[in-house]
């Protein structure tokens, strides 16, 4: 089952969120970033070439112009391969873990996988970023020493940077899956406590959580 919605990022660019619902325990979100526009490409090329022409009028050396052309081409290729991210995908599998994939504009993909045993929670946090305060989604990893502690924070969708409405959609679906995972992982221990009173059952549920 596939679902597509349109959102905006923190700078106002358009994002498209594609949600694929494979099963109640497996969900995939694909967030596509705004593409590189002809206007920005023309602007950068013109500034580089005008600067090179200015240098050329000072130095009278034609190698500067050829160097400017090479720099523009190599810079564009490097930007598309190393910097510009086309879409980011988040795949949550209930019993296995969470996988994040970033696809660059040149086709390169970089993947990170976090297994479910290390995941404490997925939350929306606010932080100062440059001159703004932004909401961002992050995965909290468990502390091996302390059971309910947090050892590391992994921010998600760093290149797309969606706004709060998009984050809430992703957050709710992730929390449904995590709650489903916790319920199925604690059911063998909770099965023999069904006979107890409701107070004791709620306390044992909190202890298991």
């Amino acid at each position: 089952m596939e679902d597509e919605q349109s959102f905006s990022d923190i700078c106002g660019g358009r994002l498209a969120l594609q949600r694929r619902f494979y099963s109640p325990s497996c969900l995939e979100f694909c967030l596509s970033c705004p593409r590189i526009t002809l206007r920005s490409l023309t602007a950068v090329t013109c500034t580089v070439w005008l600067a090179a022409y200015g240098l050329f009028t000072l130095c009278e050396n034609t190698m500067i112009l050829s160097a400017a052309i090479f720099i523009t081409l190599l810079g564009l290729l490097g930007y598309l391969h190393f910097v510009k991210i086309d879409h980011e995908t988040l795949l949550i599998i209930d019993s296995l873990g969470i996988q994040m994939t970033s696809s660059y504009a040149s086709g390169k993909e970089s993947t990170t996988f976090i297994e479910m045993g290390q995941v404490n929670d997925v939350v929306i946090n606010e932080a100062i970023y440059m001159q703004k305060v932004i909401y961002y989604l992050c995965i909290l990893l468990k502390d091996p020493v302390e059971p309910h502690g947090i050892s590391q924070v992994v921010p998600l969708f760093q290149s797309a940077k969606p706004r709060l409405d998009c984050l809430i959609e992703v957050y709710r679906s992730c929390q449904d899956i995590l709650a489903h995972q916790k319920a199925t992982s604690t059911s063998p221990e909770g099965g023999d406590k069904i006979i107890s009173a409701s107070n004791r059952r709620s306390h044992s549920g909190m202890g298991a959580y």
């Binding site: 404490n120 929670d121 939350v123 929306i124 946090n125 932080a127 100062i128 970023y129 440059m130 961002y136 992050c138 909290l140 309910h148 502690g149 947090i150 050892s151 590391q152 924070v153 992994v154 921010p155 760093q158 709060l164 409405d165 809430i168 957050y171 709710r172 929390q175």
Partner: protein
């Protein structure tokens, strides 16, 4: 934090030294104009410049370099990045004591973990965050 205090101390000290030296220079220049004239060095700018140029220089250096570059730069460098644990919790919140729950009493003040805050904001109160 310590680097910021060192920088601010250095800034204030250097600013005071500069002020003092330029004040001495400008006052000295005003007094010795007759003496300088007799030496033959007569073509000087107006005396008003001796007072005003140091102020211009100081303002430019202090505002452009120290304020806009150094101060704002130090501020931005010491902001925690998005993947830092300091944006989520800190030592006080981790080590706070669990207070006992009392019936019919206002709950004690404590740092609520971010998971609980998120559940309360984004799952239970759905009408507050509608798409606009």
């Amino acid at each position: 934090m310590s680097i910021f205090s060192c920088m601010s101390l250095w800034v204030s000290l250097s600013r005071n030294c500069l002020f003092l030296s330029f004040a001495l220079f400008s006052s000295g220049l005003c007094c010795f104009s007759l003496w300088l004239n007799s030496l033959g060095l007569s073509c000087w700018p107006q005396k008003y410049r001796a007072v005003v140029l140091p102020v211009y220089l100081l303002t430019t250096i202090v505002i452009m370099l120290l304020l806009y570059v150094l101060l704002f730069g130090i501020n931005m460098m010491s902001t925690s990045p998005l993947n830092s644990i300091h944006a989520i919790t800190d030592n006080y919140a981790r080590n706070q004591q669990q207070k006992k729950y009392q019936e019919e009493a206002t709950s004690a003040l404590r740092d609520i973990p971010i998971s609980e805050v998120n559940q309360a904001f984004f799952r239970e109160a759905k009408e507050l965050y509608t798409k606009n």
